[in-house]
């Protein structure tokens, strides 16, 4: 229990890898998981004479992220070289943006996890574009150091989003990151897969301790290597305790120790100091002479604005009002990502029944793609086909469970709806056929007839199962209505 009250001050630096097909300054693929050093060219390899050419898509996605974060998009942005030596940086410098980032001065609002009615506005200082470095892999083989470099990742576009130190708790940080990730995924800016490194988080944290009215700041610690949101929360919680104790026992303050860099050890669940070289480095930033400053044209800005349709929260609200689905259903669909939302939108619009569409998409489509381990884009049943199936239900041509048979058959056999109905022998059953079926059932079930006549209309339900056994295509609604009518006339 700490003796003095304190405020935790946290700012986040989030790197998101932009969802471009090719790298920031060359045509190499950004595909994840390819064999080492197969997505490389003279530029990625840092060969002399190779020159960078800006990827327009990366500019657009960055500007799109900026719009979502309420940032200004300055008229001119430029490129700077950040210089340091490391084997995974073959040019000896990283092309980045120093003093004129593509996005500046924005904010992101989150609900405070401690109080759902409280909205907290987190300032965004800037978001700048830069190229990623390669990957170093250090192996200790047979007692001798062996380092390998994979340059596939070298040159992939990153957007570094830097927040103001407006965050006060680890939970707020997780809420911020969750909302940011959802937004970036929703807008197609990034996949934000922490496991693949397309979302990386560093946190700057210190405490402002109130010792009887005197505010004392602890040294700022930058925590790196947190590879999940859970780790971010754990690392920050650990760091808060550690900093308080360090101040209490050793008296470290920002004046005595400034800023330091720590890593997060997931196994031991502790933060630990990293080499101090980071802080003392002079990157000798200067404008990259191989690239011209970028002026986003009005056409480009217009294109970005047209890409900026709606944010996840707006989509949730829209689904509720447009299709009359519950808040819960809207959340499930929107949280499943932009492709699922688009799929649902198409099904709901085409079939005209948002509620039924919601239930089919959530129960059948989501379950099925989860089982198959695919994305909805790869799903065999198109939104139009599903909408047509739902329309058959609405028209009373198919019972829900029979429609499910058709759905399964379409998936199993990879056939279209018409073919599936044919395969299952589903066709409109002749009215006279149903009439003779019901008459036959009534004669075999005198008790049902008596019960109904005695005022228990529900008793007729017993006939429906038998009718479907005799003819799977018999429409339950039709059987029910016909049976009641015939009993009345008896």
């Amino acid at each position: 229990m700490s003796q003095y009250p304190f405020t935790t001050v946290i700012g986040l630096e989030v790197h998101v890898q932009l969802k471009t097909a090719s790298k920031l300054f060359c045509g190499c693929s950004t595909e994840f998981g390819a064999p080492p050093n197969t997505h490389v060219c003279p530029l990625c390899l840092g060969l002399p004479g190779a020159l960078p050419v800006i990827n327009e898509k990366a500019l657009e996605l960055s500007a799109l992220a900026g719009l979502a974060l309420h940032c200004d998009l300055p008229p001119v942005t430029k490129w700077d070289r950040k210089q340091y030596f490391y084997p995974d940086l073959p040019k000896g410098y990283q092309t980045s943006q120093f003093d004129m980032p593509i996005c500046a001065d924005g904010f992101l609002e989150i609900e405070d996890p401690a109080d759902a009615n409280q909205t907290v506005r987190i300032g965004i200082i800037r978001a700048h574009l830069e190229e990623d470095a390669g990957k170093s892999m250090h192996d200790e083989v047979a007692g001798r150091a062996d380092s390998r470099i994979d340059l596939n990742r070298c040159g992939t576009p990153l957007l570094e989003i830097v927040s103001e130190p407006d965050l006060r708790t680890a939970e707020q940080c997780v809420a911020f990151l969750t909302k940011l990730r959802e937004m970036m995924v929703h807008l197609g800016v990034s996949d934000c897969e922490m496991q693949e490194g397309s979302l990386r988080v560093d946190a700057n944290v210190n405490l402002h301790i109130d010792r009887n009215g005197e505010v004392i700041a602890t040294p700022i610690v930058e925590i790196k290597n947190m590879n999940s949101f859970r780790n971010v929360a754990a690392a920050l919680a650990y760091e808060v305790d550690r900093q308080y104790e360090e101040w209490e026992t050793k008296g470290h303050t920002i004046k005595t120790h400034g800023k330091r860099t720590f890593g997060w050890d997931d196994g031991k669940q502790v933060t630990y100091p990293q080499r101090e070289k980071e802080e003392s480095a002079d990157y000798r930033y200067f404008p990259c002479p191989d690239l011209l400053p970028v002026r986003l044209t009005e056409a480009q800005r217009e294109k970005v604005r047209s890409m900026f349709t709606e944010l996840p929260q707006q989509a949730r609200e829209r689904l509720q009002s447009q299709y009359d689905v519950t808040a819960y259903d809207a959340d499930v669909i929107v949280s499943a990502g932009p492709e699922m939302l688009a799929y649902y939108d198409s099904v709901a619009t085409a079939c005209g029944d948002g509620k039924r569409a919601s239930s089919w998409v959530q129960q059948d489509v989501m379950r099925s793609i989860k089982e198959q381990g695919i994305s909805v884009d790869q799903f065999a049943i198109s939104a139009d086909q599903l909408a047509a199936l739902i329309q058959c239900i609405i028209a009373g041509e198919l019972a829900n469970n029979r429609a499910r048979d058709v759905f399964e058959h379409m998936l199993d056999k990879g056939v279209a709806m018409d073919q599936a109905m044919k395969d299952l022998g589903i066709e409109q059953v002749d009215d006279s056929e149903i009439e003779s079926l019901v008459a036959d059932l009534l004669s075999k079930n005198p008790r049902v007839v008596d019960d109904v006549k005695g005022g228990n209309a529900k008793a007729v339900g017993a006939l429906i199962g038998q009718a479907r056994k005799a003819n799977p295509n018999a429409n339950p609604q039709q059987v029910r209505e016909l049976a009641l009518k015939m009993i009345e006339q008896m």
């Binding site: 390899l45 020159l51 073959p90 040019k91 000896g92």
Partner: protein, 495 residues
Amino acid sequence: MLDSAHELLSLQEQGQLTATEIAQQAIAAIEASQPIHNAYTHVDAEAVLAQAQQIDQRRAAGEALGALAGVPVAVKDVLCTKDMPTTCSSRMLENFRPPYDATVVEKLRQADALIVGKTNMDEFAMGASTETSYFGLTKNPWDIERTPGGSSGGAAACVAAGTVPLSLGTDTGGSIRQPAAFCGITGLKPTYGRVSRYGLVAFASSLDQVGPLAWSAKDCALLQDVIAGFEPRDSTSLDVPTEACFAATQSADLRGMRVGLLRQSLDSEGVDAAAVQAVLDAAKVFTDLGAEIIDIDLPHRKYWVPTYYVIAPSEASSNLSRFDGAHYGHRAKDDNGNEINDLVSMYCKSRGEGFGDEVKRRIMLGTYALSEGYADEYYNKALKVRRLIRGDYDAAFNDVDLLLGPTTPTSAFKFGEKVDDPVQMYLCDLFTVGANLAGVPAMSLPAGFDQLNLPLGIHLHAPALQEARLCQAAAAFQTVTDFHRQRPSEPSSKS
């Protein structure tokens, strides 16, 4: 015989000469010159002969041939060639073979030029005498005790020695024009962005430009027309139509052209009287050709060299970071000949061994100028001065069409005269760096000889993108003068 590219083209067209014969002559000339002048770092005789035979066969078959078909061209060893080493005359890249061609080299191949080899230069193009090459001195064909200038010393000497009619150099602060002046030939530095830098090993990216060297302005124009043009792989390449330089050389009429005489540069300290006289004589020639001479000044001229020697080393310090022994190029071993396990030691030793003194000096200068706390005082201030220098040119070109002055303060100097005094060496760029800082085209052309009978050059500047105007004026000058027709006598020393 190998003096004039455009004559070689017409002789082939007339059937009086074959590409094979030309190639054989070039190879023989190189074999004779190389032990004396050492203009080349690499020559591939077999490939050239094979290519020449193909060109002859294609000509016989009536196929269309490129604009430089059968014309031997030498390429400065700072331009990437996928079938030849590209060393930048440095130990660092002694065994480096790039997997691709520079754009200008691709264009030479498309034009069916015979690329005979790579020419010697100051290491990474840093120097004004070719004395910093790891592969030995290149001798000036006019006096083998003197330097050919630099950094494109090999590119100028190979033409002056009569081994090829055309060569490609690069110019960051005068590296085409100063050696052209020292070797009595013509050299053009095009507008920044006019020629693609793709595949040019960068020294100072905002200043580097590839350009032609030849005896005459006509031949320079011929080569310029082949290499110029927008290229998307170089983001600083200018997306504007090119003007035909060779066509512009057909008119010797300069009536109405206003030539600004940089009279103050004639009064500069250390400028040889003969160099001054050459400029004044040239002004007279231009007057006779119909041009009007107007005295003009570029007020910030005295800041050119200091500005250049902040910006160029700053960019160089960054551009040369990639040569660290990790991925390619020279990697040092420890004293027992084993791999060095410690990364920082490997970096230090590889760069320590791989780079020569001048390169290290410039890396240190540039690193210092960009360092935190110094960048404002040096690099950022230099950028501001650079804008003023550009402004001077803009103002001058409101009044005149061309600027005229000396290319160098003196004729070629002797080996060892300046190499140990960097400041003296840097002053070789006194008249040439302005064009690079402002990005405008400039040309040096032979215009006289001093008392030692060493060639002197005059220097013309034109507004951005006006290479054709430069070529026209220079070619007109060469229709009424014969300085560009003088040839060095057999190898000798004039001391």
